[in-house]
Symmetry: C2
C-alpha cells in the first residue's frame, strides 16, 4: 500500500471546506475537522480524515442529519442526558463534554450521557478536552456491534472504547482504547495488506477462531455472526470475560444510562443510534490539583524508568506515543494512503472543490510513492 504525506494545515482547510459543502456552518465544520485531525495527529488514521467519505455517505443516505442540534432532555447539577436527534457525532460529542466540564467546574464532577448520535471520532478527543482544562476527563461510546461476548458467536457489543485523560507533566496521562482486542480498523489494515490476522483476534460466523480478515469483515457488515474478540481473547483463562466486562462498562455509561440503543440495536435500517458517555472530575475535589498532578507525574516517570524486559529498550506511559506522533505529523504531514487520496479527489469533484487548489498535482499511481508497509 502506498501513501503520500499531506500537510496538516492544508488538510485542515480542505476538510473545513468539505464539511461546509456538506451543509454545516463554518464553526461546525471547524469543530468536526478539529476532532478528525487530532486522530490523524495521533497516527490513528482509521478515525481521522479518512472518514470524510464515510461521513459524506452517512449524510447523503440520511443516517446523519446535518441540521440536528443536540438537546439536553434531563439534567441535575452533576448530570445530563442529551438527545442527539441523529446529528453529527463530533458536534454532539463536543457539546456533551462541554456540558460535563461546565457542570464539573461548578459541582466538582459530572456525568453526561448521550443517545441517538453517530460516530464521534476518537473517544480520546473528548477526554483531552477536560484534561486541557485541568480536569480528569473520561469518554465512552458504543458502536455497531463487533465484539463477540465470551462463548457467543454473534457480535453484541461495539468496539466500546474507554478513554481517560489526566493532567500530568511533561504530558498528560492519556489512555484511549477499544475494549475489543483490536479495532475493526486494524482488521481493515490487515485485509488491505493481505496479511493473516493474529491468533486471538477474531471469530468466524460459528464462533470459531478465524485468521481471515476479509471473511470476518464481510460477516460483521452482513451481521452473519462472528466478529472481534474482547480484550483477553475468547477463553476465560486468558481473561475474555474481563474485556467483555470493560465493554459492558462502556455500554452502561452510554446506552444504558441514556435509555438509548445498545450496540446490538444500532446501525440497523438506516439509523445510527450511537450513544456516548462523558465524565469530568475536578481534582480540586481531592485536595491541591498541583500536588496531585505532581504525584501522578512522579509515578509516570518511575514507570518509564523501570527496568526493561530483556530485548526491550523502552517502557511507554499512556499518551507518550501520541505526544511524539503529533510532533512527527506536524513536521512531515499526515500519511494518507492512495485509495483514500483517490476517494478525496472524487469527493472534491462531487462537491465542486478544485482538489489541486489545495494539494497541487497528485498522480494517484502507486508506483510513484514509497510504501509505508
Amino acid at each position: 500500500m502506498s501513501h503520500i504525506y499531506l500537510k496538516l494545515d492544508v488538510l485542515k482547510v480542505f476538510c473545513e471546506e468539505a464539511f461546509q459543502r456538506f451543509g454545516f456552518t463554518k464553526e461546525e465544520a471547524q469543530i468536526i475537522t478539529d476532532v478528525l485531525l487530532l486522530s490523524d495527529k495521533y497516527g490513528i488514521e482509521s478515525h481521522g480524515m479518512q472518514r470524510l467519505v464515510r461521513y459524506h455517505k452517512g449524510i447523503k443516505n440520511g443516517v446523519i442529519k446535518v441540521d440536528a442540534k443536540p438537546e439536553i432532555v434531563f439534567e441535575t447539577p452533576v448530570s445530563a442526558v442529551i438527545e442527539g436527534h441523529d446529528g453529527m457525532g463530533q458536534l454532539i460529542g463536543v457539546f456533551g463534554m462541554n456540558t460535563a466540564i461546565e457542570k464539573a467546574k461548578k459541582s466538582g464532577m459530572a456525568i453526561v450521557t448521550v443517545r441517538n448520535s453517530n460516530h464521534y471520532g476518537i473517544a480520546g478527543y473528548y477526554a483531552r478536552m477536560a484534561s486541557d482544562q485541568g480536569l480528569i476527563g473520561m469518554s465512552f461510546t458504543n458502536s455497531e456491534a463487533i465484539m463477540v461476548p465470551t462463548f457467543a458467536r454473534k457480535a453484541m457489543l461495539g468496539s466500546n472504547p474507554i478513554a481517560i485523560a489526566v493532567p500530568a507533566d511533561p504530558y498528560p496521562f492519556f489512555f484511549d482504547a477499544s475494549t475489543t482486542v483490536v479495532t475493526r480498523g486494524k482488521l481493515e489494515m490487515y485485509h488491505k495488506a493481505e496479511k493473516p490476522l493474529h491468533d486471538g483476534w477474531a471469530l468466524d460466523e460459528n464462533g470459531k477462531p478465524c485468521n481471515d480478515a476479509g471473511r470476518v469483515l464481510k460477516n460483521i457488515s452482513a451481521k452473519k455472526g462472528g466478529g472481534i474478540m474482547p480484550l483477553g481473547r475468547n477463553e476465560e483463562y486468558s481473561g475474555s470475560h474481563k474485556g467483555y466486562g470493560y465493554g459492558m462498562i462502556s455500554e452502561i455509561f452510554t446506552s444504558i444510562l441514556s435509555m438509548g440503543l445498545t450496540s446490538n440495536h444500532t446501525h440497523i435500517d438506516g439509523k445510527g443510534g450511537t450513544c456516548h458517555g462523558f465524565i469530568a472530575i475536578d481534582p480540586a475535589c481531592f485536595g491541591d490539583p498541583q500536588e496531585i498532578r505532581e504525584h501522578l507525574s512522579v509515578f509516570l516517570q518511575e514507570l518509564r524508568d523501570a527496568p526493561k524486559a530483556e530485548g526491550q529498550d523502552r517502557i511507554y506511559t499512556h499518551g507518550e506515543k501520541e505526544h511524539f506522533a503529533v510532533e512527527r505529523v506536524q513536521e512531515q504531514g499526515v500519511a494518507v494512503d492512495m485509495k483514500t487520496v483517490i476517494e478525496m479527489m472524487q469527493l472534491a469533484n462531487d462537491l465542486q472543490i478544485d482538489f489541486s487548489d489545495f494539494f497541487g498535482d497528485i498522480h494517484p499511481d502507486e508506483k510513484y510513492y514509497a510504501s509505508l508497509y
Copy 2:
C-alpha cells in the same frame, strides 16, 4: 488437594469470634466477617476466610493497626479523601463506600479515595453495597506490585481490580476483576496443584514469559523482578498496553487522587499503605431509575439469549456465576482446603478458642476427604 465443607453460619460465628480475639469490637468483627464471607459465597476462596491467618500475622507484626479509625481529611458534597491510619482494610472500605453512598444520595454522585489502608478483601463487596441500595457502585484498590507493565521486567502496579455493580433483574450486573490477566491467588492455586502456568500469564525476573508458578511467586515476594502480565499479555498486538491502562485507571482513583502510595511503594518495610477508591452514582440523575434498570435487564437477557459459539451452551452475564455460587455455598457450605483447616486449628489454639466447639471433630488427613481438583 483435599477440601472439606464448613457450614456458612458456623464459619461466620467462628470468624467473628476470632476477629474479636484479635482486638476488634463485636461490630467491627461482624463487618470484617461479612466482607470475607461474601468472597467465600462467591467461590473466590483466595479473598475469603482463608485470609484469617494472614490478617492475624498482619496485626501481630504491626502492619494492620487494630485501633485505627478511618478519618475524613478532605471533603466536598461529591467527594472525600480518607486517611486510613493503617487500619483494617475492610473497616476502612465499608466506611469509604458508606461515605460515597451517603453523599451520592444527597448530591447524585460521589467519589471517595482512601490512603494508608490495608488489604480490603474483594473489591466487589463495596460495589454491591451501593447496588443493594439502588445505586451504581464502583470500587478500586491498588496492592503490592505484581503487574509488570508492557515491556518492563519489574512489577510496578498491583492486581488493581476494578469492580462495578449496577441494579438489574433477576440479579445485578456485577463485574469484579483484576486488571492483571490472572490474580496472584490463581498462581498460588497452580503452584499448590503443581500445574504449569498457561502461556500469557507470567514473566520471570528477566521479563521473559515463564510457566513456573513457584519461581514467579518467589520473585514477587522477594521483589526480584518478574510478575504477572496485564490483561492482554505482554505484547501490544494482544493488547498488553490496554490491561496496563486499566491498571493505571485503578491506580488513579486510589493512590493518585488520595496522595497515597502507588503500588510500587506499598508493602515495604512493615508498611501496607494500600489505597482504595469508591464511586456511587444515583441512576435518578439520568431519569427514572426503574426504567434504566429494566433497560439494562433487557440487554443482559439479550446477551444470555445470543447464539452460542460452536461447542458452548451458555453465555454468562457478569454476576451470574456469583449469584449461583451463593446458592450452592449456602446449601453445601464453603469448601476449605485441608492446609487452611490446619491453619485455622493452629489459630484457634493461639487464640484459645476450642475449634471443635465450632466444627466438631475434624481429622486433618487428606485421605478422608474428597478431592475438588
